[in-house]
């Protein structure tokens, strides 16, 4: 009985020492995964995920504290990219996917209160107190953070117009699935 206990204890001590040594020898600093996740996020800093910005969300995902489907501006593409990186199953987006849009300030109504300026995470609104504000639409990420603070509701979101340079070929629309699914309907009609 004693031999057995001693033998197992000796083994345990031996392996414990080995593991202790390796833990010091192969110590890892930081969390490189959060960086990689951050680089996949669209950096709108919109906070729609419930985190104050993209980086905190990336860290939460890396820790496993949050799901990968919270980024509304990134949409399906970002979810797929994160699922791929983390080896998880892609899940449906936990928000409505919106068309890309930029903020627009109605010059008639703007009173120059600078409230929107302070809320823009990327400094894409220019203006000064009592002056008409303007939006740098090239820099605007469409985060909509400037909408709530405006006291006169003069900011609206304008969809980005489709240009030839950014045009994308549509995904072929007649894969087997869809045609096959639509056929019984046609037969019924």
């Amino acid at each position: 009985m004693l031999t057995a206990i001693l033998a197992i204890a000796a083994l345990a001590v031996l392996f414990g020492l080995m593991l202790g040594y390796s833990a010091i020898r192969f110590h890892v600093e930081g969390d490189p995964i959060a960086d990689q996740i951050d680089s996949l996020l669209p950096q709108t800093q919109c906070g729609q995920c419930g985190h104050p910005g993209c980086r905190p969300y990336a860290e939460a995902v890396a820790r496993g504290d949050d799901d990968i489907n919270k980024c509304a501006p990134g949409g399906e593409a970002t979810i797929l990219a994160m699922a791929d990186l983390l080896g998880r199953e892609p899940v449906a987006l936990d928000a409505e996917e919106k068309l890309p849009a930029v903020a627009f300030i109605d010059p008639e109504r703007c009173i120059g209160c600078t409230l929107c300026l302070q809320n823009c995470p990327v400094d894409a609104i220019v203006g000064a107190a009592k002056q008409l504000h303007g939006i740098l639409s090239k820099e605007c990420t469409g985060c909509e953070l400037c909408l709530p603070p405006c006291p006169v509701n003069c900011i609206s979101m304008v969809p980005v117009t489709e240009e030839i340079s950014g045009w994308r070929w549509p995904f072929p629309s007649t894969p087997l699935k869809e045609t096959a699914k639509s056929q019984p309907e046609r037969a019924a009609a």
């Binding site: 033998a7 083994l11 990186l85 983390l86």
Partner: protein, 193 residues
């Protein structure tokens, strides 16, 4: 020499741990969605299996048997395996963080991979020598890695297939594993074992 070759062929193909002995199915199903992950898992398992077969053989031969405490084999072996897995995990966290992340929970789960314990116990059961044990463990691990990577390559194809909804995911993967197992029955009788 022929004997060693037969052990290898026997464990890799004829008595493949996954497809014929049905051991180690948990990582086989869990980490076979992507080829890269499967390759990494195969490497890690190969390392753990070979190393633990050697260490368990030594522990058995020079500790358990002389002290007459062979009945503690299972506990002692689990201790050995758990340590080797933990060691592998620490090293991998340092050297390949992405693989570490990708393998996730499955890396510590090698500890409970029945194939690893199975190899250790079967080694003692079949009275293998040290070299035979190492070869047996290595062969079993190669067999495991081989079918794991082949399975992963197939699953990457099946992932884009038009599988009926109820059968998507694990269901079709298990069917695929079953069909692979059926094919591996072709090796039956190759090596008398």
């Amino acid at each position: 020499m022929t004997e060693y070759a037969l052990i290898l062929i026997g464990t890799v193909l004829v008595n493949n741990f996954v497809l014929v002995k049905f051991l180690g199915l948990c990582p086989f199903m869990g980490v076979s969605k992507k080829l890269e992950t499967a390759t990494g898992m195969g490497l890690a398992t190969t390392f753990v299996m070979t190393l633990s077969s050697v260490i368990t053989w030594v522990v058995n031969q020079y500790l358990l048997e002389p002290l007459g405490i062979g009945y503690l084999r299972t506990i002692a072996f689990i201790l050995v395996i758990a340590s080797v897995v933990q060691f592998t995990e620490t090293v991998m966290h340092k050297t390949s963080p992405v693989l570490y992340q990708l393998l996730g929970i499955f890396l510590p789960l090698i500890t409970t991979n029945c194939a690893v314990l199975g190899v250790a116990l079967l080694n003692q059961q079949s009275q293998h020598t040290l070299v035979e044990s190492a070869l047996y463990g290595f062969g079993a691990a190669i067999g495991f890695s081989l079918v794991l990577t082949l399975f992963a390559a197939i699953r990457e194809r099946v992932a884009v297939a038009d599988v009926p909804e109820p059968f998507q995911g694990s269901a079709i993967a298990l069917i695929t594993a079953g069909l692979m197992s059926l094919a591996f029955m072709g090796f039956a009788g190759l090596v008398a074992n």
